[in-house]
Symmetry: C3
């Protein structure tokens, strides 16, 4: 009878342990879902930022592209992206390419079988929200002159194949992961990868008409600073989910540290861009401060979980300094990027990935060698992939609208509609 | 002494069990609250969507209506709506009407007495955020020509009585619930119900001046596509709370499945509307894609918790196909709906409710018979209720502004104020 | 052996208890973080609200200020604000001033050592998001005529020193806390404090050119009502985090009650302002309804955790009534506040703090004496501090732009850029 009682007590205790673990599982899983919704909000951020930074005559077009990109991203990630990015590399594989098959494959015995902190569906939807980001970055950089359908074809192919493939090298447990490359939430895996693809598009498209004239560079101002500012604040908000959710659990210490480093790097980016643009241009340039905030956010992303407070602020400030210098440099190279996406995502993405090697402390990983290998390998692949796809589109469908269509604006020529009636 | 120790061990284990259950309760409750805040964001989505789709001269008016609707919704739900929608039908009642009394009635012995997963207050505030939605749907459909005060009177009566009464038939455990009608988060209970009321208003008001002329249909374009796009993205964001919160706990499998089906249906809606509107109109119509996203969201709402991935995408695509066809049809019928609310909420709400019978698998419930009964019963009641209220207002206060007021715009005639100075 | 088994059972039970406590800790901590992100969204709310309420020629300027304020707020709170606001007053101190040193000081043995419900970092980031609010309130009130750099210097000093110092008197456990002053989430500590600083700025700056003429008051309308409405809805959304997070845990009963009282007070504010402004001005004034919502939110903030439903609605309605009366009064006093910040944050902040003494029930605290002492002490300090800082800036750098710069607008004169191209 006593033994029974002891067995009873143990059973009650084991039951309680199980209940506690389920509560822990529930809160971890909930955070991944809330974070996914916050990352979704970044797509509104990108849409408004890009809409604000383009001319009035190309606003419908950019909104159309960004509305379709999120749809394309979700559907292709469902069709093949998720299984290409997390294929479960065989141990003896090179860790370069594997594919777990088309469609989604929830584990047989319950959705949560292989998942310690969240369900299969939470994993899918969180990662799917990331997937379209690469194409969104390109969208802004090639705005105001690219044809709609070729762009959507590019976006589909890039999001379906290139982004998940390079991503698998690290997040899927591939060769870059094996060699110690460190990229917490994707300074390289998401942001610079999108930036390289944007650069390929910019090169093949050429600058907007009238941007680089014999008399010098003619700034083409965005049509709505409120829209651009709304975009940056929404991106800042969403980044708490982007970086915070990348902890992949609601771990109190890590998630709260990540919130703090993320916010302080953004603040540093604003300050760095404020002072640098004042020194360079002798004025108070809102576009630079806005892109400085984004630069700081991109910069901290690779190491948001391993940085000290001081390091985060320094990383942000340097990212902020990079912005006006990079924007000026790209303009000197006649690489026309209406929204500054290459400066924000490519340059600050590289900076953030390198910053892990400088400031980070992650027990042997994130060495300069590993970081540079990751930056170069993913950059080279993404650039070449995007270049080839854009090139094929250029020689087949054409990628650039006619001169008079560009002059009239894409809203009328592609959509027969004005953004503002 | 040994017995004492065993008793001690059992007590400690029971304590742990209680602590685990409270943690589970806390996370479930937190999710309902976060979801309520996300549903609140949908009201900003509606406000900006409708503001974007109306003419520049009627923007203050639509913002005024939407600001007041959320206030009216919260206050009337507090006054009578909550107790009308969840009256606790007596077992021998017909399940058609019951009322638990005016004001809120938190359970006596602690707020959580009768609540397993969340508090009385969480229940109230989550449901209250839903309540105003019906009136918001009407707001857009009758925009640009309805008088302010009659509209606000209608909104108050509809939200206070009609919405909670029809809602009680299912969510309050009434007669439709008893017969197996299935509507997870409200394709019918919230969306088509609002759409029917909108239709009643449209019929009694007549179209905007100059919309249907002898020369044919004159499209009246919305004044700001960025506002409309912001609205749709915010609605998409909020829908994660609308559908995800309707699980009524943070259940990891269900909430994550609902997030996934919801997002994929929205993506399907965009694609469906994109292709259909291209085939029908030979252009890339941003309004259609935006409403396609909303159509997909409305369509998945009735069965978001019981659909497979493929089914969700198909439901979304079909909803997207419905949008341009329905918009065209309503225009042919000279039923003038400036924002497409009847196509999105009424047509796709019906579609989503039927889709449960086609795709859903919920153990005997959600049959065609039950679904059609629910659609027809709630639709008929809401339409008639709204028709009668609008009709009484028409013959007493009048519901339509004068011709010259419509010409000048409601902002000046009703508010003596322009949206843009 | 039996003893061993009993010991085993107890160990398992203790383990389960620990696991349950960690799950509870995780969900409490997560809510503070999500709430911090929601409070961040309020900064976008302020930015768009203020941008909407100013003239088209001063939009870049207000967006620039609000982008920098959040950065300044985060960085100064990190540098000194947090340790000034929560210095850990010595028992024998006066509780008026103490400082725990520059920089952040996470507890040595783990981040969570002294924290029962959330980590050190969660505490920091949640409080840091509040810190910039004071300066943001001032930003709107002094808009359209203040010089950029002097304003940013003021904002830095105010947020770094004045806000955390007065805050420490209550939230840091200082002398006002000891005497029973009650201010749950900051009707006084955040809102009226910002309002007093705004008043000092308004007095020293003088009204905008052309506002108060010999022929009477010339209303200067905001340039975009959609932006203003977006701002108010985002502030309403963020307030669920502002008030709900101030529970400092995910306590189900308290957080859900706070959500409910907060929402109903906002609704009451809309209704109160609607009727009062109709009686006073004989029209339906969107600005008044929007500020009425904000007034209701500010009003409930001091007692959101201790009010009944009826009290919340009454507090909101009275706040809504205050808005048009206060706006009219400030105009009669020729105190020119382009966005109504003093009416919303100062007047309704005082009202909400007093409402605790009228309606609240918090066991001996929140008496009229304590509330009035808190209002007066914090108000006097903030007003004088702000007045002195603005005065020094006025006699050194100057705080007001030239007449022709004001005429041209700050966007061109300070930023060489238009908000809308």
């Amino acid at each position: 009878m006593q033994n029974n009682s002891i067995t009873d007590a143990m059973a009650i205790a084991a039951e309680a342990q199980k209940a506690a673990e389920f509560a822990q599982f529930t809160v971890n899983n909930l955070w991944i879902l809330v974070a996914a919704a916050m990352v979704f909000m970044m797509h509104l951020g990108f849409a408004t930022l890009e809409a604000g930074f383009v001319q009035r005559k190309n606003v419908v077009n950019i909104l159309f592209k960004n509305s379709m990109i999120i749809a394309i991203g979700l559907l292709t990630y469902c069709l093949c992206g998720f299984n290409l990015m997390y294929p479960g590399f065989a141990e003896d594989s090179s860790g370069f390419f594997a594919f777990a098959g088309f469609g989604l494959t929830p584990p047989e015995n319950g959705m949560t079988a292989e998942y310690a902190d969240y369900t299969y569906w939470s994993d899918f939807i969180f990662q799917a929200m990331f997937a379209a980001t690469g194409a969104t970055i390109v969208s802004g950089a090639v705005a105001e002159r690219i044809k709609l359908i070729p762009f959507l074809i590019f976006a589909t192919i890039f999001v379906a194949i290139s982004y998940p493939l390079t991503g698998s090298w690290k997040w899927g447990g591939g060769w870059l992961d094996a060699m110690g490359f460190y990229d917490f939430a994707g300074s390289t895996i998401v942001h610079s990868v999108g930036g390289w693809a944007a650069l390929a598009g910019i090169i093949l498209l050429g600058p907007r008409a009238g941007k680089y004239t014999k008399k010098g560079i003619r700034p083409i101002q965005g049509h709505s600073m409120p829209l651009a500012a709304i975009g940056v604040f929404l991106l800042f908000f969403g980044w708490f989910g982007f970086n915070g959710g990348s902890v992949l659990s609601a771990d109190p210490e890590l998630v709260s540290l990540v919130f703090t480093t993320t916010a302080l790097a953004a603040a540093g980016g604003a300050v760095g861009a404020f002072f640098t643009s004042f020194v360079m241009f002798k004025n108070y340039d809102l576009s630079m401060v806005l892109n400085g905030i984004l630069g700081g956010l991109v910069g901290i992303t690779a190491g948001a979980d391993i940085m000290s407070i001081t390091d985060s602020i320094i990383i942000g400030i340097i990212a902020g300094i990079i912005i006006p210098i990079s924007v000026t440099m790209f303009d000197k190279l006649k690489l026309d990027d209406p929204v500054g996406a290459t400066s924000v995502h490519l340059m600050c993405g590289i900076w953030g990935t390198l910053a892990v090697a400088i400031f980070g402390d992650c027990d042997g990983c994130g060495t300069f060698g590993a970081q540079i290998t990751g930056i170069v390998a993913m950059g080279a692949f993404s650039f070449l992939f995007a270049f080839i796809v854009f090139f094929i589109l250029k020689v087949t469908l054409g990628i650039r609208v006619d001169e008079d269509e560009e002059e009239k604006g894409l809203d009328i020529s592609e959509h027969e509609m004005a953004a503002y009636a």
